[in-house]
Amino acid sequence: MALYAPAHSSFGQDAPLISGGMGLFTDTNGGNTSYFPIIEPLLAAPLGMKVLVESRADLLESFSPKGAGQSGYNHSHFIGLNFLQGDYIATPNFTIVGGEFLIPFNTYNERLTPIWIGNFQDAPLIFPLGLLSSSSGLGGMARGNAIARNKYSISYSYFYSTRSGAEQFTSHRGTGGRVSFYLPEQRLEAGFSYDRLLQGTHENFYGAHVWWEPKNTAFRLRSEFGRGQHAEGYWVEADYRTLAFGGLNSAIGRIEPVFRIQQTFRLDTMASDGLPPENTERADFGLDYNLPHNARVFTSYARQFSSTGNQNVWETGIVYHFLFPAWKGKK
């Protein structure tokens, strides 16, 4: 620790930034192909030494075939604010977040929803569990690292969200949090999430996650389990890039096969939680290609099985990840 005793100042490196992704996705289901051009910008602006204001939004257009024998496409657009939050770094182990924030239940919502990060275009089937209907909360959150050692660390987050019907700030009253245990040498993380909906019929949600990225490989294994009042399920996802043919930036190293298996189980007939109304199994096979200059191509095929019918889903997409200062500053 003494090595880092003199704090490395970030003075002059705190210019506000604009990041995000822009891309085009396609989705072919039952022979009909829909097109989704999307821009997902993210703004991060530091204020002073301890505050950071962050926001992310989706601007999505949708072109879907009219169907029923008609030619042409239906068109719709959607603009949605994912979060708009202020972070106050009170102490090295304690950060206070206020505003509209992503609900810290399991890992997918906070870590893998950006279009330039996730391996698949579709979120897992259990994604809605524990996200209190809107995936973001309006209120406050405490988070940080409770313990940080060389061999292990424990991080936590606890939130309280109030009820809001305001446009772009819709949220439900609820509370909960997540605790994660991480072994950096083994690159192994396990965590537990819990939250409770505090309006209407009060419901509890439980989640658990395990992530593993073996050292010196480009293999990643991610998994989540979620359980709500009316359904439960899990997903396991693996992706791999080879280092054997000239590293990750070689033509071969940029190829990324991905695989995800998932299942949902209905506990009763009340399908109000966003999960499929019947027990469902789904396997996704994908092949992504990481192009130079922060661009990525996605392709995947999924086969979904349920008692109401099986279906194939073909998806393709390309995303460009941008990152630059919000304005021209001093050199």
Partner: protein
């Protein structure tokens, strides 16, 4: 004729090497062997670099690939963002900042 070509070639090579040496001096490249003090400082800097790379591998690249370059002016903002998202400790934050700005 052949001989004058050799001379021309030799002069061009000499000019090129001289230009490189001059450019290296202008860039502050060491022209003498490093002293013990500078060696220790360089080693310290490399250790910090390794530590920062370790932090990056253990925290950032678990979710996403590293972006291909960005202006140093936003490196502090990126680190602060990661500190909140990935619950980085202060030590990890400083190591990551050094990794981005060696």
């Amino acid at each position: 004729m052949m001989r004058s070509n050799y001379w021309l070639f030799a002069v061009l090579v000499l000019a090129w090497v001289s230009a490189l040496a001059f450019a290296a001096q202008k860039n502050g490249a060491p022209v003498t062997a490093p002293t013990t003090k500078t060696f220790v400082a360089a080693k310290h800097s490399l250790q910090q670099q390794d530590e920062g790379e370790r932090v990056f591998q253990q925290n950032c690249s678990r979710c996403h690939a590293s972006p291909e370059g960005f202006p140093p002016r936003i490196s502090g903002t990126i680190v602060r963002h990661m500190r909140v998202r990935a619950s980085l400790s202060r030590h990890d934050e400083e190591a990551l900042l050094h990794f981005f700005n060696p």
